[in-house]
Symmetry: C2
Subunit: 156 residues, 2 copies
């Protein structure tokens, strides 16, 4: 009985895994980086730092890979950030504005000081290059995206 | 007789085209940008600007696609540059050092003030993201890469 319950509970997870695999398509440009263990997101996010920003060469350049449904908390970049979406589909939302559905090939500019979040859709993975100036201050982390906020983004 | 001569002359060009097509493989992340008409390179280079750098958000972010054999002249970035190779194979050489063969997935950091050039190999196209801080000054263009310098890079 316990075993049957476990199988029934695993079915939706397996279905989600298959959808995610199918959505994956061509191989990524880079192998996935380190699985993030920070407390500023929900779901699985892998990070690979390509360039650490410093006062000689400012912008940090990193690759992020999100599993389906993974999302960052609301946050602010004091120096702004540009995201170049390299795979999958996700959401980008600035505070007080509707969420935008964003796809591979899109370029998103997050202006300095603007509160926002980004994440994968429930059924697709989502990857980008992030270019983030570092000399104007570190990322300011705010509240998690609520389930209602995420569902609202998905319903748009 | 004229026709036969033309066919013989075209054979190497056709062979190069076939090699280049085979090397191309999967589709690029972005459609090619504008064919460059500046005088700081030889061969065909297409440029697509994803972000224009300014004092609010410094780095310029651009995609460059090189045809086989295309190469930039020697040059210097006052604020440095990071290249993320997204397709194909090329050369990167700093003045006084051997040329490096660079491939899809490589990340090249060109320090501020260092004279260098980069370009495609004779038989492969070559694409990258370039992240270039703009507030420390514009790119300084120097002499063209000579045929001897290019052949030396190819022979290494």
């Amino acid at each position: 009985m316990m075993k049957l319950t476990a199988k029934i509970m695993m079915a939706p997870a397996m279905a989600l895994f298959l959808v995610a695999s199918a959505a994956h398509g061509e191989p990524a440009l880079f192998p996935k980086g380190e699985l993030s263990t920070t407390r500023n997101h929900t779901g699985d996010i892998w990070l690979k730092e390509l360039n650490v920003g410093d006062d000689v060469f400012d912008p940090s350049i990193a690759v992020a890979d999100y599993g389906p449904g993974a999302k960052l908390d609301w946050h602010i970049h004091p120096g702004g950030q540009v995201l170049v979406i390299t795979q999958g589909t996700g959401y980008y939302q600035e505070k007080g504005k509707p969420a935008r559905l964003v796809h591979k090939g899109d370029v998103i500019k997050s202006a300095p000081g603007v509160e926002h979040w980004h994440g994968a859709t429930p059924s697709s993975d989502f990857s980008y290059f992030a270019v983030t100036p570092t000399q104007k201050g570190k990322t300011v982390w705010l509240l998690p995206v609520t389930p209602a906020e995420y569902q609202h983004a998905a319903a748009q």
